[in-house]
Symmetry: C2
Subunit: 273 residues, 2 copies
């Protein structure tokens, strides 16, 4: 087998299985090649990915060594993706009566959802969650893409307890913007007690839902390592939660003047990749 | 640049962007190489993918030619994945009081959801939907993976009309198993009238929800090209819909005896890949 054929196979397997450890032995067996040969191949893939901003290939040297692929994006790629999304989300026909922003076409598009997942996986690259947690419904595609980039299971908090999931823990919370009391619930068996989690959602206004999620996580004795939302509103400035990262900030949505102002979050200017 | 470096880049880009057309010019510019060189590279990637069952790389020859990657699985890979899933889903601790089958851990796992999406993309490879459509909540990760493999947007039917989506079309339907009247709704702007769609869901018992989805699609004058579910129950034999493909069939779930019988659908034995 030629080197370029081995490179094609290795690259395909790594790309399709983010954050999965593959041993040198695995590839040596699959490709019927010496471990030293595989090791050279992996170095080539790693250097090429690095040079072309295709993600990070981490090689672990030695006999027990191996490789895994981290789908991390460069700072410039993140900045350009967020600028593009801001432009698209500022289109005035996105204003829905009631002062809402229509973004379903963007976040339910697998390509864009995938990019957003990889952005979250990059900005939260220092953490190692056991689960990515979201609440139904619109955040699910983003949370799924994030879970994929982290190679961990997704957990979906439900609006109410569903009979098909067995016993569940439910809490009441006050939706920050509407002031209505609502219920969220999570089946006991969906998450081990004491897990480390990353919370992901599509939108945050007052932060009532986010605070509810934190309370529900506390019921599972989960350690919340981070919270990411695609869009948060600038107002109200005081949210019901403190530590969250919003990829985009919605500064204004004027239904009468048909004007939307949205831009990348300020964290981007301090982010060093 | 060496051939093996070009191969790594081409493979990564194709793998990450299923069913996306890339021209020879695109790669020639990106890799600073002659189109004839790129053409040879693509042939190597195509042949290697084919030999190792990594999916199908379709090359379009000629000046306006190019390439796209179809994440299709081999028949033997599909059979072994479905056998593995059947075994896991037959674990007796999956029985939930009320006679339900717990499968959330499997379908919310990005790796397995991704595999199921690629299975649907393979068994429905003859169709070209504009959208993959599902109904909230548990089918969403599977539908998202399927949409990703088809490179088309996902559409999520909601339990009721949500104010943040604008005007919506809603229908009432009778849940086949509980005989209760329920509502499902879809925002008008989430799908163009007259679209071609593939319906995906996680579970089908009597088919009431599926029939509701068909009726809602009719309201959008959509052409339903196919319907796929992960699991359907053998009983009732007469479903409220006719044309669907179930990857797995749940033959029995005995709460008292703690016994689950589930296996790949019979279509598998006629499927030629």
């Amino acid at each position: 087998m030629r080197r370029s054929e081995r490179i094609a196979i290795i690259t395909k397997i790594l790309s399709t299985n983010p954050r999965t450890h593959f041993s040198l032995n695995y590839f040596a067996g699959l490709l019927d090649a010496a471990k030293s040969t595989i090791s050279e191949d992996l170095t080539l893939v790693r250097d090429t990915f690095q040079e072309y901003g295709l993600g990070q290939v981490v090689t672990i040297p030695g006999a027990a060594g191996g490789v895994k692929f981290l789908p991390l994006l460069s700072l410039s790629k993140i900045a350009s993706l967020l600028e593009e999304m801001s432009e698209r989300l500022a289109e005035q026909e996105r204003i829905i009566p009631g002062g809402y922003l229509y973004m379903t076409d963007l976040i339910f598009n697998p390509k864009h959802a995938g990019e957003i997942g990889e952005i979250f996986a990059t900005v939260f690259k220092e953490i190692e969650p056991d689960y990515v947690v979201t609440i139904e419904t619109k955040g699910i595609p983003l949370a799924m893409s994030t879970a994929r980039a982290f190679n961990v299971p997704l957990v979906i908090i439900r609006d109410d307890s569903k009979v098909t999931e067995g016993s569940a823990v439910s809490i009441n919370y006050v939706s920050g913007s509407t002031r209505r009391i609502r219920t969220m619930a999570l089946a006991r068996r969906s998450m081990a007690t004491g897990s480390k989690v990353l919370l992901i959602d599509d939108f945050m206004k007052a932060g009532g839902t986010a605070r509810g999620m934190l309370e529900l996580m506390a019921e599972f004795k989960a350690e919340v390592l981070g919270m990411g939302v695609l869009v948060s509103t600038t107002e109200p400035k005081e949210k019901l939660v403190d530590n969250y990262l919003a990829l985009l900030e919605l500064e204004a949505l004027d239904e009468k003047e048909k004007r939307i102002s949205i831009k990348p979050g300020k964290w981007l200017y301090n982010f060093t990749g």
